[in-house]
Symmetry: C2
Subunit: 417 residues, 2 copies
């Protein structure tokens, strides 16, 4: 461990400068992937990297890599970063914080005249938010989990392909995907939840990305007239759906701190004030840090849906649409984050990421860890999203310490079997 520190003011100023691109009236940003605003944000990042002398490469999917050389150019690099695109009514910090904290680490190393054994690179992944295309494609294509040509062919709302959009903003690069081996990947991010703030912790040491299971459920009863149909003969699909909404909440509550159960979509048909709904279509989202718990939640849902359907005379069609297993981050890389927070005297706790991040894709190919800083009231994907300059600087310092340890370690990290 060293007493190296980042320049918290410069990091904050970079965040504020970046937030001017796509700035909205309510204090947020609109930088939809592959839009003109995305281009401007990429250009600004590029100009900062080039001004500092970091060689910038853009790969064939538009992912941007800025490299600070190491003493041994043959060793795999340490990668840090996140994304610069945003939701249509997004905040200043979601994604941008991870990219600019990474850039600040490189700048601080320059200021302090510190070199590293391994190269250190900062990445801006293409299209994390999925405001137009599906989310986190840049990192998925990078690891080979999604074929490049499938991603290229995705249509935007104007009917152009993603490849055409990349070319139009000048970021269809020439560098191959994964041109070099990488040692490990760090992603710093705002929490997007209220846990750190509520518990007064500065640093979240992210041990895993939660397992996610999605379901669609269609309940079918009998559509009938709200006036002549007595209560006791009704087969009201919306009454059944209401029981399911409450059961999903109970299932989430019944599985400890990490349990999440959410109904986000629910539509009754025919949706007329005086017609008893004959059909409801709804979604269920379960998350947990344990696959065992997720299996128990799955079983509970199937049981409760069958009970509710039988009790209210409904047919139930329950389908699992997403089964995304728990993604454990690499224990050694997670340990570097935890050690750095400890060394710097920041209060910290282990935490599981409920949301998906590029790090969840990258973790399948490269030793990876994430770090959270608190965000105000847990609000994100919202123009009101906010963080404090102190937490921003603290996160940058943790990232610096962790990167230094990783970049000066000559030993390779092993992926778990």
């Amino acid at each position: 461990m060293t007493n190296a520190r980042i320049d918290g003011k410069r990091l904050w100023q970079s965040l504020m400068d970046m937030a001017e691109i796509g700035a909205t009236a309510k204090g947020g940003v609109c930088r939809i992937a592959l839009s003109e605003e995305d281009r401007q944000a990429r250009d600004l990042f590029r100009s900062w990297c080039e001004a500092a002398g970091y060689k910038l490469r853009v790969d064939v999917f538009g992912n941007m890599f800025a490299r600070r050389p190491g003493r041994d150019p043959g060793l795999p690099a340490v990668l840090v970063g996140s994304h610069l695109d945003s939701q249509p009514t997004g905040g200043k910090f979601d994604g941008a914080y991870g990219v600019l904290a990474g850039l600040e680490v490189l700048r601080s190393l320059d200021d302090m005249g510190l070199d590293t054994l391994r190269p250190v690179e900062v990445v801006n992944w293409t299209n994390e938010e999925g405001a137009i295309f599906k989310p986190m494609i840049g990192s998925e294509v990078f690891t080979g989990a999604m074929p490049l040509n499938s991603a290229y062919a995705m249509p935007d709302p104007q009917g152009r392909t993603l490849e055409e959009d990349l070319r139009a903003i000048g970021y269809l690069g020439a560098t191959d995907l994964r041109p070099d081996a990488l040692h490990c990947y760090f992603e710093a991010h705002i929490e997007q939840g209220p846990v750190l703030e509520r518990e007064g912790e500065t640093i979240g040491v992210v041990t895993a990305g939660a397992g996610i299971r999605w379901y669609t459920l269609t309940l079918t009863g009998v559509e009938s007239h709200a006036g002549p149909t007595p209560m006791d003969v009704r087969r009201d699909a919306l009454v059944g759906a209401a029981h399911v909404v409450l059961a999903v909440r109970e299932i989430g509550l019944g599985h400890g701190e990490q349990g999440r159960g959410t109904v986000g979509c629910l539509a009754p048909y025919p949706a007329s004030p005086n017609v008893i709904p004959g059909r409801v279509e709804m979604t269920v989202d379960f998350r947990h840090a344990s696959e065992e718990a997720l299996s128990a939640m799955d079983e509970a849902l199937r049981r409760v849906v069958a009970e509710i359907a039988a009790r209210h005379g409904l047919a139930a069609d329950l389908n699992q649409t997403v089964h995304s297993p728990l993604i454990p981050f690499h224990p050694d890389v997670v340990g570097l984050i935890r050690d750095a927070a400890k060394h710097l005297g920041y209060s910290h706790r282990d935490i599981v990421s409920g949301a998906g991040h590029d790090a969840c894709n990258i973790a399948k190919a490269i030793p990876t860890a994430m770090m959270f800083i608190p965000c105000e009231n847990g609000i994100s994907h919202n123009e009101a999203e906010n963080i404090s300059p102190e937490d921003s600087a603290a996160g940058g310092n943790v990232l610096l310490q962790a990167v230094l340890r990783a970049a000066n370690d000559p030993e390779p990290l092993k992926m778990p079997a």
Copy 2:
């Protein structure tokens, strides 16, 4: 009482002939008000009336009146009827039964050579269903409750006015609204609910149209990410809405055989599978045969919404949008229906109409009663709608007996104060 009977086979044949107009593949009809199919149905009704020698008048709102003279042409007529328009995927009997049972009464009087003191008229009201315009306008304009010019000005989906649509199908008539005083109005209709069938009764003696109260409710919580947001800090508007759906059902169940509580529309926002709904908009429909009960249901809803909102950290905006008081039918006219069923030996019970009918509008101006016959499985507003030829004939016989009594009574009926 007499031993007069209608010709049940002829009535059934008329129903089947009428059902060919706008017939759908699934055995229903599509005769949207003021459509080409509505014109054809009106033309067929007109041709039958003219063939039988009943003078047909069309009023300035397209309501059609076919008159069989009485011995005293100066006495106010007895009116019977309903409507020939249908829902887009409607059944063969909703509305058409009341018009054609009325026509069958006149035809049977001819067959039997029976004359009546008062004239008897059959009416086909314009636009009962409200598939395009709001429901039951023809009877509302007829009584003066809705100004003619407001109704004329209503736009259809093509941007033409209702007046233009009436002219286009050739049914913008010349007869004034309410040209003559009327003695009373009878409307025969399918029940559109399961009560008569379930209890094995042939005739429903309709004593009133239920009071109706409609509400809109907006619940506002905090929209947040389904992953990072722990269950215990959520302010999930859909969880609150689910409690309201179940409470509305309990309120309906808690107010006896006549109580109805229905949530027909419910929409969460932003309606994404991984976003906790920050807002829900929904409707509530309460019906009852007692204004006292409706007031208690209203109070219960306000209390339960406030409790649920407080418990889940939601803001609640509850607004009453419809307050349609109980419409008692005229006891003497109701008595004629009940006496006729008794005289003919048909099993019967008093019943309240949960649905709205033209009779509910007419009852405010003229002594009125309704009669229900059973419909299969209580299904209506549906191509599967069905009745039995036996019940059809029974209803026609009750209508004939009641009309004969009313049309031979020289005394005027008094509207209650």
